[in-house]
């Protein structure tokens, strides 16, 4: 953000024709023309400085503190009870915690499912809605509605559907009697998938809107040209429309990765990450929030989550910067 004002004095150094009379007053020894008054600089300093300080304090310091705490044990009472334990938290986590590996696995499953099912479905919906069919706005609203609702509320709503005793599904198919009982929430083979249906239900609408925006920017002339060349609808989509959606696909990928890593609220409402639905974010919360917390241990889990996030973010940033440099 400081780039633009910084350029002003530099460009002023060049002897541009228009600024000739005041170009180089002798009073300035360094050769820089002061286009900014003291007040401007103060304002700029505050505008850049305050957010920087906040950012450093609330993002970087907490992240670094959390990394440091991952190597300690601390119950959260008084700073003198922090004790250095080296890698013990991580050793404990990788070898002794029966919930850790399932949690990692579930985060991965979450991502794979979101990218394989609701994302193409959202694209499909977007392509259909882009055809200017009747009531297109109504469909659009219907599919987008879940995205407007908070995840916590979605969790409550889907619990009404899944409740094994009184829920919609079991009541309809009669699976709430002893002997043939389907435990959607408690059965570890079922509950993750049950939650993923709810998550996908929301994600598809989200993806649909992103793709719809992408499709609007596809030049109609391209479609016309491919139609003239005799391509059918599928060929047009595959060879003309989809390739132009590349930037949208990047956004979709990033959004889906973020959704998979930050998955928390839906599961927390659903069954607090019990058997079969463990997630890293929930393990962090369970260990840190509460009356006698294991802050060091919880931080170690948070660090694992951070490392996974970085492993995803860094390649993305490298790719983006490379593209910018080329441009």
């Amino acid at each position: 953000m400081t780039a633009t004002p910084a350029k002003v004095p530099e460009t002023a150094d060049e002897p541009t024709p228009g600024s000739a009379p005041t170009a180089k007053p002798a009073k300035v020894p360094h050769g820089h023309q002061r286009l900014l008054t003291r007040r401007d600089r103060l304002t700029l300093g505050l505008m850049a400085g305050v957010p920087t300080i906040l950012h450093v304090a609330l993002v970087w310091l907490t992240a670094l503190a959390s990394i440091a705490l991952a190597f300690t044990t601390w119950d959260g009472i008084g700073f003198d009870s922090i004790r250095w334990v080296g890698l013990q938290n991580f050793r404990e986590l990788f070898t002794n915690n029966p919930q850790f590996w399932p949690a990692v696995e579930h985060n991965v499953i979450w991502f794979v499912v979101l990218i394989v099912l609701p994302t193409p479905f959202g694209l499909f919906l977007a392509v259909q809605l882009d055809k200017k069919i009747r009531f297109s706005r109504v469909y659009q609203t219907a599919f987008f509605l879940p995205v407007v609702v908070s995840m916590a509320v979605i969790g409550f709503v889907w619990q009404l559907v899944y409740n094994p005793d009184t829920g919609l599904i079991n009541s309809l198919i009669g699976a709430n009697k002893p002997g043939h009982y389907i435990d959607w929430i408690g059965d570890p083979d079922l509950n993750l998938w049950a939650i993923l249906v709810a998550a996908s239900w929301r994600h598809a609408g989200y993806m649909m809107i992103l793709y719809l925006a992408g499709l609007k920017s596809v030049d109609p002339a391209l479609r016309e040209a491919s139609a003239l060349d005799g391509a059918n609808e599928w060929q047009t989509f595959k060879n003309v429309v989809f390739p132009t959606l590349r930037p949208t696909n990047t956004v979709v990928l990033v959004v889906t990765i973020i959704e998979a890593l930050r998955a928390f609220d839906l599961v927390f409402v659903f069954n607090k990450g019990a058997q079969g639905t463990e997630l890293l974010s929930i393990l962090v919360t369970n260990n840190i929030i509460g009356e006698s917390s294991r802050i060091g241990y919880g931080s170690a889990i948070a660090v694992v989550l951070l490392v996974i996030s970085l492993a995803v973010i860094i390649p993305y940033l490298i790719a983006t910067f490379r593209k910018e440099r080329r441009a």
Partner: protein
């Protein structure tokens, strides 16, 4: 106490605030929490005529009952009670930073390890002087529950409620069942109920704490009170043959429990007892809250968990107790002591019980004449007990019980065959947690 679980965790689905805080906690990665929450608490200056009190009784019934106690106290002493009520979930999650910041003079809390923990961290003030005046009102077991590890008093108990096996008198009468007092009779009864088309034991462990109650009952019936204490304190081993025996007993009756327990809340499980679809239900007396129809509630009865080893009989009763503590540096210590003394009187307890009949007084001096039959029975059960336990997560480290025991017991309930690997995993995790501080 209506929404206050015996475990101290939430029964009901989490409120939006809890959730947001959960998310906040996760994103702050822990480090920011003590820093941010240090600004809670009351900022009133020392006023000799006011005592501030932090309360977790955010639900209507207990909130009103407590308000009546404070009003009576103000009338008697002229000291005003400035109540700062927080959502009970929030209160428990923030208790750490709340007590380290500027807490209210007096705060509501639970007896047992959870009280001792804050006492040993010097976040509470001993109240031996108060106990000199109120000591005569309480039985020996309550005195024991109110002491910290250093032998000083830190806690004034107000009410308590036992865990037992609940059933409906009409169902027992209809089928000619008899209350079982021994393990064999209990198992035989389960079998009969199943044949009669009932779910023998209602069970819901979605909130993960109810299974702890079952474990506690089988454990102190099999191994006695002392072993319960040792095990909860992290001294006894979870791979001990004694623990294995507890799980063997549990495995024996698990087939008679309601199917799909991990997906069901205790409220839904209680509804099967209300609907007479289940024969029995092991829970605290707060199960009565689910009996909204007066006739149904009158039909409710309970018996102590049956004897397993004659050596221990039925002499231990699980009776979580709630009360009050004095914070580390009260602004109005004299007034706070006056309030605590009042809270320790039978009078204060009676005011509370008039509004909330699901619990019983901690004091033996409280008037029991207005008790319902169920309350009278609960009172007798507690006063006749040789030892009182609190609950797994009140008698042990909450970080151990919530992060290790809750998922482990859910795992066991689903796969009782895995018991050996579950137990060795508990033991390994226990060692690191208990070694950490």
């Amino acid at each position: 106490m209506h929404d206050l679980a015996p475990s101290g965790l939430s029964f009901s689905a989490p409120s939006r605030r809890t959730l947001l805080r959960g998310i906040g906690g996760a994103t702050l990665l822990g480090a920011g929490i003590p820093l941010l929450s240090a600004c809670g608490g009351s900022g009133t200056a020392a006023d000799p005529k006011t005592v501030s009190l932090g309360s977790n009784s955010s639900d209507a019934v207990p909130k009103k009952a407590f308000a009546e106690i404070y009003a009576a106290f103000t009338k008697k002493s002229g000291v005003k009670v400035d109540v700062n009520t927080k959502d009970h979930n929030t209160f428990q999650e923030q208790i750490n930073s709340y007590l380290q910041g500027t807490p209210d003079d007096v705060f509501t809390w639970f007896a047992g390890y959870r009280m001792q923990f804050f006492a040993s961290k010097k976040l509470a003030t001993p109240i031996d002087d108060v106990w000199q005046k109120i000591g005569g009102n309480f039985p020996e077991a309550m005195k024991k529950l109110s002491k910290g590890e250093d032998g000083k008093y830190y806690f004034v108990p107000l009410y308590t409620y036992p865990w037992a096996v609940f059933y409906r008198k009409s169902v027992f009468a209809q089928h000619g069942y008899e209350v079982p007092t021994t393990w064999d009779a209990f198992v035989a009864l389960c079998k009969r109920m199943q044949k009669d088309g009932l779910v023998p034991i209602a069970f819901g462990d979605k909130d993960a704490w109810p299974a702890m109650g079952t474990f506690d009952q089988i454990n102190f019936r099999t191994n006695g009170y002392d072993f319960h204490v040792e095990l909860m304190a992290g001294k006894a081993s979870w791979t001990d043959a004694k623990v294995r025996k507890v799980f063997d007993h549990w495995t024996e009756i698990l087939p008679y429990h309601q199917e799909g327990a991990v997906g069901r809340t205790w409220q839904d499980a209680a509804q099967t007892l209300v609907a007479k679809k289940a024969g029995m239900y092991l829970l605290g007396t707060f199960v009565g809250q689910q009996f909204t129809n007066k006739a149904d509630l009158d039909d409710l009865d309970f018996f102590a968990f049956p004897e397993i080893d004659p050596q221990f009989g039925q002499d231990t009763v699980e009776a979580p107790t709630d009360g009050f503590m004095l914070s580390k540096a009260p602004k109005n210590k004299a007034g706070a002591a006056q309030l605590l003394e009042y809270l320790g009187t039978p009078e204060a307890e009676q005011i509370y019980l008039k509004s909330d009949p699901n619990v019983v007084a901690a004091s033996t001096k409280a008037d029991t004449s207005s008790y319902t039959p169920l309350q009278k029975k609960a009172y007798e059960m507690i006063s006749g007990a040789k030892s009182l336990t609190q609950f797994m997560d009140r008698d042990s480290r909450p970080d151990f019980t919530s992060t290790v025991m809750q998922p482990a017991l859910q795992n066991f309930v689903r796969n009782p065959k895995n018991v050996d690997s579950i137990l060795s995993s508990i033991e390994r995790q226990k060692k690191t947690i208990f070694a950490s501080s």
